[in-house]
């Protein structure tokens, strides 16, 4: 793997390569370059996951001709597909180096072992939603119970926007979540359930089920399950498996007309 990255950098296949490097015992994202080729010896895969493809979009915005290599698990691959569909990345300029996701047998989607480390706590099982729950069991609750349980989870929200900020496929210059006529600003918790449902609806045909949102959530809200649920709807109705290919999403009718301006920083 290291050999390949070195070769890519040397022969100009890529201008830079996004991977991980250990610093004081912490695996941190690192940008490997031709100038510091020896650095590549320290390239690690590690268990820690950052959204390298999101970083790639930041770089591509600054220089659209930049050829970017990156470590890519299955979820990163799916994200790259979605970002290509939405004109955030040019697939010709992205060079994923495939790495095996996790020790578990890998299905095409939704079987990342990353999230399943923790067994839900007793009180959460009683009143909320178990993060490890599958869609069928979450759907099995009565409507009333479903409402109570999800509202419990949403009420915990501290409006950090971490789910959006970390999301590899969230890139809009203007975010509906910050539209004050739709969601009243300045209060904790944010207006529930609208805050979470607006975001969920925007994840339809976009969410690539990487689980980073849930991983970034300070309150352990089962966001991955929520977005997985909305994606099953696109699957059932349109037979569209988000991120599987670079085929347009059935919901992207406006896609070509919408100009996606740079997100201000």
């Amino acid at each position: 793997m290291k050999k390949k990255v070195k070769k890519w950098l040397e022969d100009g296949t890529v201008d830079l390569f996004l991977g991980y490097k250990i610093d004081c015992g912490h695996p941190l994202p690192h940008c490997f370059t031709r100038e510091e080729l020896d650095d590549v010896d320290h390239l690690v895969v590690g268990e820690t996951r950052y959204s390298l493809e999101k970083i790639a979009t930041h770089l591509a915005k600054k220089d659209p001709n930049l050829k970017i290599g990156l470590l890519a698990r299955d979820c990163n691959q799916r994200a790259i597909n979605v970002l290509t569909i939405w004109h955030q990345l040019d697939k010709e300029k992205i060079f994923p180096l495939n790495v095996n996701c996790c020790p578990s047998p890998i299905k095409p989607q939704a079987d990342c072992s990353y999230m399943s480390g923790e067994t839900a706590a007793s009180y959460k099982l009683q009143v909320g939603i178990d993060n490890a729950m599958d869609i069928e069991s979450a759907d099995a609750f009565s409507d009333r119970e479903k409402n109570i349980r999800w509202m419990y989870e949403f009420q915990k929200c501290i409006k950090c926007y971490g789910c959006r900020n970390i999301c590899p496929v969230c890139f809009c210059a203007e975010c509906t979540l910050e539209h004050k006529d739709l969601i009243g600003p300045g209060r904790l918790p944010p207006q529930v359930p609208i805050f979470h449902l607006v975001r969920a609806s925007h994840m339809v045909g976009r969410c690539i089920d990487c689980g980073l949102c849930e991983d970034a959530c300070p309150m352990d809200i089962p966001l991955r399950l929520l977005y997985r649920k909305v994606n099953t709807i696109t699957m059932d109705i349109f037979d569209y498996n988000t991120g599987e290919s670079c085929e347009q999403s059935p919901l992207s009718l406006l896609g070509d007309k919408v100009t996606l301006s740079l997100k201000p920083m």
């Binding site: 940008c31 370059t33 950052y50 970083i55 600054k62 220089d63 950090c160 926007y161 970034a216 959530c217």
Partner: protein
């Protein structure tokens, strides 16, 4: 193009969450939670996520300034430091060291707080040192 990820600590409250500053070509681009941090475990609040914004703000002061006839004039470091040193020295000479006070900052690093109280105690000669823990 150069892109770096630098570990830092969020400066918005006393929790001490771990962040990474993402820079592109020497400019801060975003704040990312540090996944393996013992305190924050890869999560942040709204302030932490936007930590880079105040640093990038166009409102930042860029030069030391001295007020002359009621207006601020940009100046060099040497001049600003010398004017200050002279004025503090005059006040000490005229009224004694306890006529000076230093408000150190709960936003500065340990090293800087140490140096600030050292300045007050060893250079000014006063223990009039406090900060906003009470406020």
């Amino acid at each position: 193009m150069k892109c770096t990820f630098t570990p830092s600590i969020c400066s918005y409250c006393g929790t001490g969450c771990g962040v990474l500053f993402e820079t592109i070509d020497g400019r801060l681009n975003s704040t990312i939670p540090m996944k393996s941090h013992p305190v924050s475990q890869g999560k942040l609040c709204i302030k932490g996520w936007n930590l880079h914004e105040h640093i990038n703000s166009p409102m930042r002061l860029q030069k030391p300034m001295v007020k002359t006839f009621g207006r601020f004039i940009n100046t060099s470091w040497d001049e600003a430091i010398q004017i200050t040193a002279d004025r503090f020295r005059e006040i000490i000479d005229q009224y004694g060291p306890d006529s000076l006070g230093v408000l150190v900052s709960a936003k500065m690093s340990n090293e800087e707080n140490y140096l600030a109280q050292k300045l007050a105690r060893a250079v000014f000669g006063t223990n009039n040192v406090d900060h906003c823990a009470r406020l």
